[in-house]
């Protein structure tokens, strides 16, 4: 990572690996964090279509009473895969797309700390995602809910292969998330440009930093829960065997110790994106920056102490209920602080209502609704009325769709120019926003009422005369509108890649480092590693900031011109990831495959670890 200040002899093979080919191979072998981010983005958006279609079938089934579009069994597979897909294959990887693309750019680094490990994470995600998604086309998809409660999911009650796909698939996806999290923690701690102190880091990087800690501490817990389930299903252990004395709540505790931090893993990146968008389009630094940092950390910390509020209905007794209820209400405080700080940022700002800004404001509004219904069922007596009803479905779609997805859409509109060099069409974007905003409320707001009227979650059909019919019809119409708005987004996205307006390095007049470099970002990111003296170097920086921004905004330079050494492209992470998934497939098919996969993995892993990352420095 030599800077341009020190002239070094060009390394002949360094740059050529990137620029000169953009074919399929260059994508398979890439270790560039920006390309990996783009891969994450496209893959996750593809899974978004799959998860969305599953939701549409669910809504078509529930559109009116006594719907029989699909059977109960198919319905079980649909809602299980809708939840699993949206949580693990859409929102988390969409966040990961931004982690990959943005973190190095925001902290002034040339790549992540471990570029090849980064590629490995992506490939494991892709293969694991396919592993868990493909079964639905053969009618053998997981059917035990995205939470997979054991003992329901043990062999005795779920004898089919369906749950096997779920258990193994989640295990694979966990490896991807963990590997990525170690990488990003190290990157943020260690690869910040000179002067980029922790308290100058952009808020998206901060929230991502918190999320990586949640991942490394929460995922091992579900790994263990899944190992127990895997052993129960395949090797006859008794972890979830009630007749043998097992605790029927073991799974629930382990799952939600993971599952509640997971909720913040899903929302904090969107909070981070919004915290970039709102200051940019208010032309004001983020209001109360340190408090935003601390509230993010506090949300992460408290997130580990509230898991049992998912379990009030199991009867933990008054002390357990009170403790978890209070802790849950407490989380409302740092979250509320964030809402107020976004509003404070907008107050008296020069607001520009771009599509990204609209989505950001959409998050602030809709997440608040979801947050408030969340505080409602933090109280056990209220929760006992609401739990397992559509009220809960309304709640978590307001925080996940109204929160995470709105924030991520905003992020896509905002950062599209940095990824492609072109702007997305604003007119179509605004139509997308309004359609999406109206459809979203149309779909999920009535669920508060159908839930309050007693409609349970996960039922595949219902009788008329219970007061649910109209609400369900409205929800279904909203869902169809969401399809239209998403199609509009897809059209805008694909079209703008080639035909969008040329963006220039800083189309939004934003203040952070990623906007100091050309769009699309060059493969080396920064021609010179920037010197940072402020939170918004492009707005309020001193001469040093201005000087590095001037050098970095030069277009058309290749890494070779600048004598920047880049890592070799390599296919090895892909092969290791494929071997890993191959090995897990062996559990379902034959033990022989398991050993073949393991052997392949060890051999390719050694080959990866013993080959150099980049050309030798001279």
């Amino acid at each position: 990572m030599a800077t341009t200040a020190v002239p070094t002899p060009a390394a002949p093979r360094a740059a050529s690996t990137y620029d000169e080919n953009s074919g399929l191979w260059s994508w398979l072998a890439t270790v560039d964090h920006k390309r990996i981010g783009v891969l994450y983005l496209f893959t996750a958006l593809s899974f978004f279509i799959v998860g969305g279609l599953e939701a549409v079938i669910i809504r078509a089934q529930l559109q009116g009473p006594n719907g029989h579009l699909v059977s109960a069994e198919t319905y079980n597979q649909l809602f299980t895969m809708h939840g699993t897909t949206m949580v693990f294959l859409v929102i988390m990887p969409l966040s990961a797309a931004f982690f990959n693309f943005l973190i190095p750019l925001q902290i002034g680094a040339r790549d992540v700390a471990f570029p090849r490990l980064n590629a490995f994470s992506y490939w494991v995600y892709l293969f694991g995602g396919l592993f868990i998604t493909l079964p639905i086309f053969f009618h053998v998809a997981p059917n035990g809910g995205w939470f997979g409660y054991a003992p329901l999911t043990t062999r005795a009650f779920s004898p089919g292969i369906n749950i096997d796909f779920w258990v193994i698939g989640l295990q694979i996806l966990g490896i991807s998330s963990l590997a990525a999290a170690f990488n990003f923690i190290t990157t943020i701690i260690n690869l910040r440009a000179p002067g980029m102190t922790l308290m100058r880091m952009p808020m998206f990087t901060w929230m991502s930093f918190v999320v990586q800690f949640l991942i490394i501490l929460a995922f091992p817990v579900i790994t263990v829960a899944l190992v127990f389930l895997l052993f129960d299903r395949f090797f006859g252990t008794q972890f979830y065997e009630i007749a043998a004395g097992a605790d029927p709540l073991l799974w629930q505790h382990l799952f939600w110790i993971f599952g509640h931090p997971e909720v913040y893993i899903l929302i904090l990146p969107a909070f981070g994106l919004v915290s970039e968008i709102i200051p940019t389009f208010s032309k004001k630094p983020l209001f109360g920056y340190p408090v935003m940092v601390y509230s993010g950390m506090l949300i992460g910390l408290l997130g580990f102490g509230v898991w049992a509020h998912h379990m009030f209905a199991v009867g933990m007794g008054p002390i357990g209920d009170s403790v978890f209820s209070l802790a849950t209400m407490l989380i409302g405080i740092p979250t509320g602080v964030k809402i107020f700080n976004w509003i404070g940022t907008m107050a008296q700002g020069h607001l520009r209502f771009t599509t990204a800004m609209l989505f950001a404001i959409g998050l602030v509004a809709l997440f608040t609704i979801g947050g408030i219904s969340g505080v409602m069922h933090s109280s056990p007596p209220a929760d006992l009325q609401q739990t397992d009803s559509y009220f809960i479905v309304a709640h978590f779609h307001y925080v996940l769709f109204g929160g995470s997805i709105m924030g991520i859409f905003g992020g896509i509109y905002h950062y599209f120019p940095k990824m492609t060099g072109r702007l997305m069409d604003e007119k179509l974007g605004k139509i997308h926003f309004w359609l999406n905003f109206i459809a979203m409320n149309l779909t999920f707001f009535p669920m508060h009422f159908s839930g309050m009227l007693g409609m349970p979650r996960r039922i595949y059909t219902y009788d008329s005369g219970q007061g649910w019919d109209t609400f369900n019809l409205i929800s279904s119409i909203g869902a169809y509108m969401l399809v239209v708005s998403s199609a509009l987004f897809a059209y805008n996205f694909m079209r703008s890649r080639k035909k969008g307006e040329i963006a220039g390095s800083n189309p939004w007049d934003a203040g952070t480092l990623e906007w100091s470099i050309p769009s699309p970002a060059p493969e080396y990111n920064f021609a010179t590693i920037p010197q940072v003296s402020s939170r918004y170097p492009l707005w309020e920086g001193n001469e040093k900031d201005a000087e590095s921004a001037r050098i970095n905004s030069q277009e058309g330079k290749t890494a070779e011109d600048l004598h920047i050494i880049l890592p070799y492209s390599t296919i090895k992470p892909l092969i290791v990831a494929a071997s890993l998934v191959f090995m897990f497939c062996g559990l379902i098919t034959s033990k022989a495959l398991l050993f073949v996969g393991a052997a392949m993995m060890v051999v390719t892993l050694y080959s990866w670890l013993l080959s150099p990352l980049e050309p030798e420095h001279h």
Partner: protein, 216 residues
């Protein structure tokens, strides 16, 4: 391996690999905490024997002894603890490879191969003890399927054993490099990372030995 740390600017001055291994160890703590908690939650909940600390007579009149063999496991624990000491010496030997050795004692202390071998062999000995323990338990009627104790015990200690196995393979890899081109101060970080992992696995065993074996 990849280019030495000196060429790269880092915010902390530390090599990135060192930070990553600490993050990894933090994550591993949660893994073992979950496994150990499950073992403790299920302690005393098994409906049928054999049990860890007390004898059991089955309804059909079969007699089972208390299954945990504390003297034997104390011996294997001692071996594993010693391996951590050898690991420290191995790291020191690699770091001081270029310091001239005058006496025989200095040459012994400075032999990275000797101490890496000692660590790997001690680790393997521990695994041998574990294999012996597992087979004798199966002979005495306790398998992973027998009861909650069997399931949680074998899974917990099995996971730890798998970690030791990975550590031994890591050490053998370092040894192979040492034989091929010699490990020197430039490799100290790689050995240091392996050592951190090894000590972590060792510390986990101290927790397991105390909570599973010693406390009745």
């Amino acid at each position: 391996m990849s280019a030495p740390a000196a060429h790269h600017y880092t915010s902390t001055g530390l090599d990135s690999r060192k930070i990553a291994i600490w993050a990894f160890i933090g994550s591993e703590c949660m893994l073992f905490v979950s496994l150990i908690s499950t073992y403790l939650i299920y302690k005393g909940r098994s409906i049928v024997g054999p049990f860890p600390h007390e004898a059991w007579v089955s309804p059909s009149g079969e007699h089972f002894n208390a299954i945990l063999n504390i003297p034997v496991t104390s011996a294997s624990t001692f071996v594993l603890l010693m391996s951590s000491l050898f690991m420290v010496l191995a790291l020191a030997a690699v770091q001081n490879k270029n310091v001239p050795k005058r006496t025989r004692g200095e040459r012994i202390l400075g032999s990275s191969k000797l101490w890496l071998w000692a660590t790997a062999i001690a680790g393997t000995t521990f695994l041998g003890f574990q294999a012996f323990e597992f087979t004798s338990f199966v002979h005495e009627g306790l398998s992973i399927k027998t009861n909650l104790f069997g399931s949680s015990f074998f899974t917990l200690t099995g996971f730890h054993g798998a970690h030791v196995t990975a550590g031994v393979i890591w050490l053998l890899t370092l040894l192979a490099i040492d034989y091929r081109r010699g490990l020197g101060p430039n490799d100290a970080l790689n050995v240091d990372i392996a050592a951190l992992y090894w000590h972590f696995v060792d510390v986990v065993w101290i927790a397991i030995f105390t909570l599973v074996y010693l406390i009745k």
